[in-house]
Structure formats: C-alpha cells, structure tokens
C-alpha cells in the first residue's frame, strides 16, 4: 500500500529575524502538518535567538496540542549544529522538555509563569561584561524581559507558556527573544473592541502591531497597561538597537531614530514573537524628558 510521503518543513540557511518570513513559514508548515513531518535543517547555517524561540514554541505546541512527533534532519553547518545541540532540539522534536543549560553567551528557558529570579540571572549574565559598569545595562535587560514576560503571561493565553532565549555576541550586543503561541497581539486587541466597532476588526495585523507599540494600546478594559512594549522599544532603540515584533501576519521593525516599518507577511504566525537586538551597555541617545514627579 502506498504511504503518504512525509511533509517537509525546511529551515532556511539564514534562520534569523532578518529572514523572519521564511522561518515563520517553516513553522507554519510544522503547525499544519499531520503525523509525519520532517524538519529539514540541513542547509541551516545561521540561527539567532528569534529562530530558536520560534522553532522551540512550534515544536512544543505540536507535541502538546496534537502529540505529533517530528523527524529531524539536523544542520550540516558546525555553528548551527552547536546551537541545535545547545538548545536540545533533539529533545524538543521528541516531545521532551528541553533542559537548556546556561552558558557564557547563551541562555534559554521555557517558562510557564513569571520567574523573577530567572530574569535577574539573565539580566546579570547579559550585563556583567568585563569591567564595564553594568547597573544600567542590567536594568535595561531586566525591564525588557519583565515586560515581554508580562505580555506573554497576562495576555497571550499560550498553551505552552513562552520560550526565552538570550544570545550575546562577541561585541557584547545581545539578542533577546521571547515567543508564545497564544492569540497574538492583533487578536487580543481586536477582542477588546466593543461589538459596534466591527469595522476596525478589518485593520491589518501590521497596523495593529505598530499602534500597540507606538500608541500604547492595551486589551485591558480598565485602561491600565499599554506602556510595556513602548518602553521596551525605547530601551532598545535609544541604544541603537532594533526591535522586531511578529504576530499573525504582521512583521514590524522598530529601529533607532524612531524608524518604523511594518509589512504583511505572506505567511502567518499563531502567537507573538518579540526579538530585541541591542547593546545594553550603550548610553541611551536622547533619553525622553519627563516631568520630575519624584
């Protein structure tokens, strides 16, 4: 009897946030695939924190939601293979909870609830570099992580919690990524609209995500909240860094000097990923002036 060939989800050679759409498409194939699917990572040469968390959440969701196994064709590139081993993708593919060990420049974890001790550790590790003064750097990383985790746990309704990864480059620039497989920022905000505002439900995901970051929108009915992502963006952008937010079909990029660009992807991500790339030790440029209340 002829068997149905396995579907193949292919990781691109550059599996980084700069090629987010291709990584997301690979995850979409994994999401949609039946019992027999192969994650083809043979050609993958480079991965960053974004790709790690997106892939990890996809594999965890796959196992949790449908108990579907995935076969892995591992990377041939040494660097990518090291990351695959470091982040225990073999365990993830098999459906086991990965034990991600902290290392000098690499850190990652699956979280199911706030863990301030973990955040403190990541922030310390990311900021305690050589003799540089790290109080401000640690604060910046702390703030970014806490806000992203708050969003993941308070708003996302993600069945797999969230995955966090932090990778420090030799130059001390930090990749920090948090991904969940919840309802996503656009849907969370749309659900907060009153029924008579159906017209606004057709607004593109990309526009919604940009507003969520720049206008401080919140899905909370009591009008508290809404400042978190904007503050994360400020911490990153004022240090010359770049923030990417991917949710639904939205791929939004917030660069330094108030640059914003957002596109509608040809694919879709069921959840939210935020990836920050910045040097936490850099002195923020043109910090916002605020009235001194205290």
């Amino acid at each position: 009897m002829a068997t149905t060939p396995a579907r193949i989800a292919t990781l691109p050679d550059e599996s980084t946030v700069e090629y987010a759409e291709r990584v997301i498409e690979c995850c979409r194939v994994l999401d949609a695939a039946g019992d027999d699917v192969i994650l083809n990572a043979r050609e993958c040469a480079t991965m960053d924190a974004f790709a790690i968390v997106v892939l990890a959440t996809t594999l965890a969701r796959r196992r949790l939601v449908s108990e579907k196994a995935t076969r892995l064709d591992p990377p041939r590139s040494t660097d990518a293979a090291k990351l695959f081993n470091r982040f225990r993708f073999i365990d993830l593919v098999a459906g086991a909870l990965p034990q991600w060990e902290a290392a000098e420049s690499v850190e990652g974890r699956q979280l199911r609830a706030h863990d301030t001790d973990y955040v403190e550790r990541v922030a310390s590790a990311a900021s305690d570099v050589s003799e540089k003064d790290h109080a401000d750097a640690k604060f910046a990383v702390n703030l970014c992580l806490l806000e992203l985790l708050t969003n993941a746990f308070d708003h996302s309704q993600s069945p797999v919690g969230c995955f966090v990864a932090a990778l420090r480059e030799q130059s001390d620039w930090l990749h920090l990524a948090v991904a969940d497989r919840g309802i996503g920022i656009p849907e969370a905000l749309r659900r907060s609209l009153p029924p008579d505002r159906l017209g606004d439900r057709t607004e593109a995901d990309a526009d919604v995500v940009v507003k969520a970051v720049t206008n401080g929108l919140t899905s909370r009915k009591d009008r508290a909240g809404g400042l978190g992502l904007g503050n994360v963006r400020q911490q990153v952008a004022t240090r010359g860094g770049v923030l990417h937010v991917i949710a639904g079909t939205a791929l939004a990029r917030f660069g330094p000097d108030l640059e914003v660009s957002a596109i509608t992807m040809g694919t879709s991500f069921a959840g939210t990923v935020v990836h920050a790339f910045f040097d936490p030790h850099r002195t923020p440029v043109a910090p916002t002036e605020a009235s001194e209340v205290f």
């Binding site: 507003k211 400042l227 503050n231």
Partner: protein, 239 residues
C-alpha cells in the same frame, strides 16, 4: 508620616499586578491624611513598567502631578527606577490632561480626548467608551475653534455640542492662566519695557508651563511689554 513598605507588601515579587493593586490601594487609603505618604522601595530594583504603572501610574490619571508631588514621597528607590517611574507618571498625566469630556448619549458612553501640542489644540477624538483604536474616522483637525469638520453619521450632534462647550470652557481657562502669568511677570519686574531686563519666573504648575509655551508660540500677542519666554520647564520639586 504614613509609610507604605513595598517589600513588606509585595515581597520580592515585583511583577504581580495583584501586588501593584495592593500597593496603590494602600496609598489611596492614606490619601486624605494630612501627612505626606512615604513609599519605601527598600533599595530593590523594580524594572517593571507594568508594576509601576499599576501601582502609581494610574494615580496620575486621577490626580494632577502637582498634587501627587505634594502628597507622595518615594524613598530608597534606585535611580533607574526613579527615571522609569517619572516617565510613566508623565505618560499617564498626558492622558489625563488629554481627557476632555465623557457622558452618556443614546446607547453609548462617549469619551472625548484632545491632542495638544504645547498648549495648542491639534486634534480631537470622540469615540464610544472602550474603543482603543484611533481610526481615521474618529480624529478631526481642529484649529483654534475656527474650523470644525465632523461626520454626523458617526457622532451624534448632542455629543458634539457638549464637547464644544467643554472646549470653550477649557480655552477660557487657558486664556485666564495666560493673563495670570503675564501679571506675575509684570509683578516680578519693576519695568518690563527695559530691554536688558530678564525676568525669571518660577513656574509652579503644568498649567503655567502650558500657558507660557502657548504665549511663546503665539508670539506673545497679549504681552504689552518685552517678555521673552526663555525656558518653560517646571522647576525641580523642592525637597
């Protein structure tokens, strides 16, 4: 002096919204006592926008900043948290200042918010309560009460009448503040006609700052002497 100990109230957890709510409720419970309320952060880093916003930022939506300055004092807060907290308070205060009017008309509760730029009105948003989106249909350009473009299919006339009333009232309040500021400048100087004389005014409230900026932007048309607006920032709070 009533004192709220953040560590005692919240433990080392600094992200729980429930704890932040407890903190705010403790502050509000002591709000009407005569003494300044001290909030002791215990030297622990918070670094959480959500926590500080819930605990204190929401107070800035309710009370003017100058009132908060007089009622609250923070102690043992890290410098980074202090800057973050000030940023949050400013953001929420701007929202509070931006709220113009709300009321029930027909089936909906309508909310009107204004967009200001240094005391000049840039835009007006009128929408049903709970609408977070600022769709194009909800914003109108509005210049100096001269021009008002609106779509009656979206907003009932009764709502617009009430919003207009409130805008006029607010404009009159700003004009009154400007007059007061000019009188204050005159009183501070023996002779404002002397071109070499510099008058330095201590601006006490956000309303005075807005009035001063408005004067500067409008070319101080109401000023009869030579009063130059050199700086319009609030002075640091006195210890």
């Amino acid at each position: 002096m009533p004192r709220v100990d953040v560590l005692e109230l919240c433990g080392r957890s600094r992200v729980s919204r429930a704890d932040a709510v407890k903190l705010r409720e403790s502050i509000e419970a002591a709000w009407h006592e005569p003494d300044v309320i001290e909030i002791d952060f215990g030297g622990v880093t918070i670094a959480s926008v959500s926590f500080l916003d819930e605990a204190l930022g929401l107070l800035a939506k309710k009370y003017p900043l100058e009132v908060i300055r007089k009622r609250l004092k923070v102690s043992r807060i890290t410098e980074q948290d202090r800057k973050l907290l000030n940023s949050i308070m400013s953001s929420r205060a701007r929202e509070r200042d931006n709220h113009l009017w709300s009321g029930v008309v027909g089936e909906h509760t309508w909310v009107a918010d204004v967009l200001w730029d240094d005391g000049s009105l840039l835009g007006l948003r009128i929408a049903p309560e709970g609408s977070d989106f600022q769709g194009e249909s909800a914003w109108w350009d509005y210049g100096l009460l001269d021009f008002f473009h609106w779509d009656p299919a979206i907003v009932p006339t009764e709502v617009l009448d009430k919003v207009h009333e409130e805008l006029v009232r607010r404009e009159q309040k700003i004009l009154a503040q400007q007059r007061k500021l000019i009188e204050k400048a005159r009183a501070a100087s023996q002779d404002v006609a002397e071109s070499s004389k510099t008058v330095t005014l201590q601006l006490e409230t956000q309303e005075e700052v807005d009035a001063a900026r408005r004067l500067a932007r409008t070319g101080h048309a109401m000023v009869t002497g030579r009063v130059a607006i050199l700086q319009t920032e609030l002075a640091s709070p006195r210890s």
